[in-house]
Point group: C2
Chain length 345, copies 2
């Protein structure tokens, strides 16, 4: 009454385990007739090969891992993650490969999680939220766990990576706002040690030529609100704010509104990541669609290629798309401080 094993099937089909195994894997020629007998027997016995035994013998798990260093509570309000995972799954599902998820909120927990992956939970991992100097890159190399990095890692690394160009949409957005007459354009970034935050902030700084109105947030609504307050309290306040994600942008524009400012008339606002509800806000939020679904697909495909033995490769996905909406529409407000600026210049 226990689950049948490969031996049961072999016996029922009048062959040996090896034949059964090969009938399924196709790793050696099996005559059509025996193959048919094997399959029939397996079907009759309702046999499913044990993934555990297979994993041990083949040193392969048929699973791909993701270790999340984010706090579980933050996961919930993030536009990127679910869509990215969907993209990954879309590829993995075709190959009947599972996705193993583990969250770890401390460095030691994270190391343990990666070691667990390496010890047989997964054949390779996708690394998210890459830092500019990321201990995980060296660590994964050390424990020899195949990996794909999501983001442009500058330092030498033996891993494939999936990159995007975050600079262009930021530059385009700044240019656009300039055309509308904005001269005081601020940026609320994510943590600057993340490669993606840093890339966006860097593009911003190069575009406006100054760090004066750059503020470092942490992607939470709280920081969006606090830093917006700080910027609006400036004697020469910005007339436009670019946020590094939609959550901060929305928190920011709610706050601005609570101070009596009208978006976009008094303050233009733009986000990043294009949450699926952002188009429905009013005013609708200008944002940058980054196609996390597609990036998930590409990352999964890249990892499977690596696991199949292809040499690592850096692929760049051209997916970012600036979506201009009402929150940045219209001309810049008659900046009350422009005269002041001129006085000082």
């Amino acid at each position: 009454m226990d689950r049948p094993t490969i031996d049961d099937v072999a016996r029922a089909a009048g062959v040996t385990k090896a034949t059964v195994s090969h009938a399924y894997s196709g790793k050696r020629p099996i005559s059509a007739t025996t193959k048919a007998r094997v399959f029939a027997a397996a079907q009759r016995l309702d046999w499913v090969p044990s993934s555990r035994a297979r994993a041990l013998a083949a040193r392969r798990t048929d699973a791909v891992g993701v270790v999340l260093s984010r706090d579980p509570t933050i996961l919930a309000s993030d536009a990127f993650f679910p869509a990215f995972i969907s993209g990954v799954e879309a590829v993995l599902a075709e190959h009947e490969i599972a996705l193993v998820l583990q969250v770890a909120s401390s460095r030691t927990a994270e190391e343990r999680a990666y070691r667990a992956m390496a010890s047989g939970r997964a054949d390779g991992v996708i690394v998210l939220d890459l830092h500019r100097v990321d201990w995980r890159v060296a660590y994964l190399r050390q424990i020899r766990l195949p990996a794909v990095l999501l983001g442009a890692y500058d330092a030498e690394s033996p891993f494939s990576s999936v990159r995007t160009d975050d600079a262009t949409p930021v530059r385009d957005l700044v240019a656009r706002l300039r055309e509308q007459g904005h001269t005081r354009i601020a940026h609320v970034s994510g943590p600057l040690d993340y490669v993606h935050s840093h890339a966006r902030a860097g593009a911003y700084v190069r575009s406006v030529g100054s760090k004066e109105l750059l503020r470092e947030g942490d992607f939470t609504a709280g920081s969006g609100r606090a830093l917006t307050a700080e910027l609006l309290d400036l004697p020469d306040r910005p007339t436009a704010i670019l946020y590094s994600n939609d959550t901060m942008a929305i928190a920011g524009f709610s706050y601005a509104r609570s101070r009596g400012l009208v978006v976009p008339d008094d303050l233009a606002v733009a986000g990043f990541d294009d949450d699926h509800l952002s188009a429905h806000l009013s005013p609708a939020l200008t944002s940058v669609f980054t196609d996390p679904f597609r990036r998930g697909r590409v990352a999964a495909e890249r990892l499977l290629a690596d696991l199949a033995g292809e040499p690592p490769e850096s692929v760049t996905v051209d997916c970012n798309e600036l979506r201009l909406r009402a929150s940045t529409a219209g001309a810049a407000p008659e900046a009350p401080h422009t005269e002041l600026e001129e006085e000082f210049s």
Copy 2:
């Protein structure tokens, strides 16, 4: 240069594999001194037990599975799933148990996925999106895979379940709208073969006493829009619409607005699930917060208890909270058709 095995550690510590194994599992008394020697050796050799070998020998994987029957692309725009998974992970992370995710978009693929879980990918599963008559319940029993069902399954089942009361907030909401003078209150449900959609729709029908203004959607923005159009085209159109999720509600009120209706003056609108941005829409969307994070926690805890040998149990989580916001504020519009109704009555 290969990964060290338990034998290497045993040799280095001058004991046998059995001792090493027991030093870690604590399944038999080991003297403090040998234990110390073992741990020291393991540390020195940088040994991590192979989860594959352990899984095979112990018939346990230390992983919990979720098979998603949704299309991967839908996953992305759903308020429930990421938060639920976060809750699950919050519990699993404490026990260093992994979460195995697999999406399957056809029944056969789904069966394969569950069999893979049963064959060693996971020790048990959490079943989402329960149908009123759900083949998976019988199937999981047949393949003897421990499971926790999310939702109130009516038929006899050997599984634990995590239930919520979706009826009360619907009833409260209808009552509230009645007080405001609404007499034509419609409902756009999710697919009625889902237990949760059905529970909400059932509560609605019992509250309003009629199915006339009930429309069955599928939780997508498209169906929200289409069914809203249908309802608004009615000769005696509703003055309030309850949707079974926020996505449909938002699509619905965008559409209503495009027809020149003002929310909530001409049409009151309410959603379900309370997407994290719903409070920021304008008007802010009335919705029902269902605490998916907490339900995820409870489901994971329940599954771990089942796996530890406790008898299955149905737990009810009292988590639903009606959040009244501007989209249902104010009195019912002077219903343009009330006179008509009187003419006909």
